[in-house]
Amino acid sequence: MISRFLLGAFLAALMLVTGISTYLYLGGRQSHVSAAPLNPTLQTPSPRAFTLPGTLFLVQDGAIYSLSAGRFHQVTTAGGWMQPSLTVDGNLLVVRKSSFYSDIFELNRFGKRLKQLTFNAAPPRSYDTGNNHWAFYPRMASDGKTVFLSYDKPKGGYEVDMSIWSMPLNGGLRQGTDWTYSQGYTGGDMQPVPVKGGIIYTKYLRANDGSIISQIWFVNRPYPYTLYAGRALTKPDQDCREPSISPDGRSIAMICTYGKQISNLVVAPFNGSSIGAMKTVISNQMVAQPTWAPDGSGIAYLAPGLADAPFQLWFLPRNAYAPPPPGPSPSPSPIGGGPQSSPAGSPSPTPPPPVVVVKPIQITTYQGFDAASTLAWAT
């Protein structure tokens, strides 16, 4: 009897353990598609990863992080912080977005608040949500005194469109200047980038079929009341946006969708007011926020990681879009040779060097960065 009892108890325990193990095994085979992104400071880039030069600032879940020498540091707490850019002093211009409005702040590199540049909350006791304002994408001009931004003024009724404004760093939007006139009900003009002699920015326009497309535009002085002032640098069907200028000012990187749910990384020569032949360097990823390395060694961007994890940090080395010039070609032989000579009399041709395909490098794996937020890259 005792042995039967023990055997029964053993089998019952075995069934219990096997059943629970099966349950846990199936649970462990979930795809993890809904797993929350990891805090960047909890997982530095893998030891094998490429270490980026300088300090890169990026955003996850409303907090700004810096990546320097392969390690992440949290610059601000999570609180709607986004879209960092650099001042000439090495501080940060950032946006803090709340439910109803967003404002621009200047922080030092360690996240200490130095100044609030805009005050976009509606007046107290205002019950009209339309009395609030948005300010996005602050960028400092090279003079160190002027800040460009996207600002939703003028607006009225249901129409809310952003225009490009400038304002003094030590002043306010009351002293601001409206540079562009956005097309109504498109979202407007976004992401200004100061360049020598003007600004480039992304303009949203309505295409002939009613859909909304984006174009990179250049404007060299304020045209607050003229829709088509300035000059389009890209064509409507290219649907390009998020421009970034190389450190030497001679190249522009941007993303172009060509009307598809994909965003190609495109680079082109830039002479200060117009661009040359466009070259697509990445066409199989959803590229966002291309940003040039300050030393010109490549372009960082955000894109879904392998297995389509949320947007990760990638780096495209310079050789991928600007391959080094080929070595000196062999000088013609003074004896024989030439296309009419016989094979036996000609020197054997030098084989072309093997084509080295330079691929982008995935820097992070599970972090999930805010792809609607710009990157800022300091030396």
Partner: protein, 309 residues
């Protein structure tokens, strides 16, 4: 041993199966006879090799917020989806919610009211009778359902076409004052959206000159992004997914076919094989009662018959 393994598996999947059985295989009452004959056949009659196994689903999206009685909601979004497995192609046609036409329940009205008057059956019959298409199945999802679906799959990666800014976005979900407003700003470009922000992107229409047509384009983008993300799901994800969705989705597709459709969805890899259609002018024009749109059937029907034979 085998029995205990099966027991563990059943314990894992039974809650999902219960939820799925409740949501799927919904019985549809047709408010009026369909011109297309038998409804809900497993597949439509193949008229060409490309149409073998093809089927049409009517996607219905409702603002089922607390402003409305749960039994009488409008369908703010109606999308006909034709899936052709033989050619791995998909066509999505967004039907304007403001289209003024005969309803299957009687009388004239906006097409978004059909569901309110006669549930899914009336919505399906209205589309079938007016557009001359055969609909195999329907899927209905409410606002909360869309949020939960997208959150359950971990959000979507999408290239939003333009900044969607709205100063008077309805603040009517999980609130005690459903007539309040909020401001939203969904910025443009490639990004990862959770359910709440994806809903803002597809629902806002105040700052879009094309109003419902612009919104329809955005809805199609989000559907494609959901499909793309769903390709990563494994069968073991189903319990968590079913628990998250919980009753926020209804469909006439039986559970057995849902399981068969999941691998089919992942086989559609070519983005060029997915065609999206909206019906602005000249397919429709304004001037109808209550700010609705008159259909121009002379343009609409040839287009519909081309893609929904």
């Amino acid at each position: 041993m085998g029995l205990s393994i099966v027991s563990g598996g059943l314990a894992y999947f039974i809650p999902a199966a219960y939820t799925a059985v409740q949501a799927t295989g919904q019985v549809v009452e047709i408010a009026s006879p369909s011109p297309s004959g038998l409804l809900f056949s497993p597949t439509s009659s193949p008229s060409s090799p490309q149409q073998v196994g093809a089927f049409t689903v009517l996607l219905l999206g409702s603002d089922d917020d607390s402003k409305f009685s749960s039994d009488h909601v409008l369908t703010q979004s109606m999308i006909l989806v034709r899936v052709m497995p033989a050619t791995k192609t998909v066509v999505m046609l967004s039907i304007p919610r403001d289209l003024w036409l005969p309803l299957s329940t009687g009388g004239m009205g906006k097409i978004d009211g059909a569901y309110s008057y006669g549930r899914a059956g009336a919505a399906i019959a209205t589309v079938q009778e007016n557009f001359g298409v055969h609909i195999n199945d329907y899927i209905w999802v409410g606002l909360l359902g869309l949020i939960r679906v997208i959150d359950a799959i971990g959000g979507i990666d999408i290239v939003t076409s333009n900044p969607v800014l709205d100063d008077y976005y309805p603040l009517d979900i999980n609130t005690n004052s459903p007539y309040g407003y909020s401001r939203i700003a969904v910025l443009a470009g490639p990004q990862h959206l959770d359910g709440t922000h994806a809903l803002q992107y597809v629902r806002s229409r105040h700052n879009d000159l094309q109003s419902d047509f612009g919104r329809s384009r955005r809805q199609q983008q989000v559907l494609l992004a959901i499909r793309q993300k769903a390709k990563q799901l494994s069968p073991e994800d189903i319990p968590a997914l079913a628990q998250a969705i919980g009753g926020e989705i209804k469909t006439s597709i039986p559970l057995s076919r849902v399981a068969a459709l999941l691998p089919l969805a992942s086989s559609f890899d070519n983005p060029d094989a997915i065609r999206t259609i909206v019906l602005p002018s000249p397919y429709t024009h304004g001037g109808a009662p209550d700010g609705s749109l008159y259909p121009n059937w002379g343009y609409i029907l040839p287009l519909v018959h081309q893609y929904f034979p």
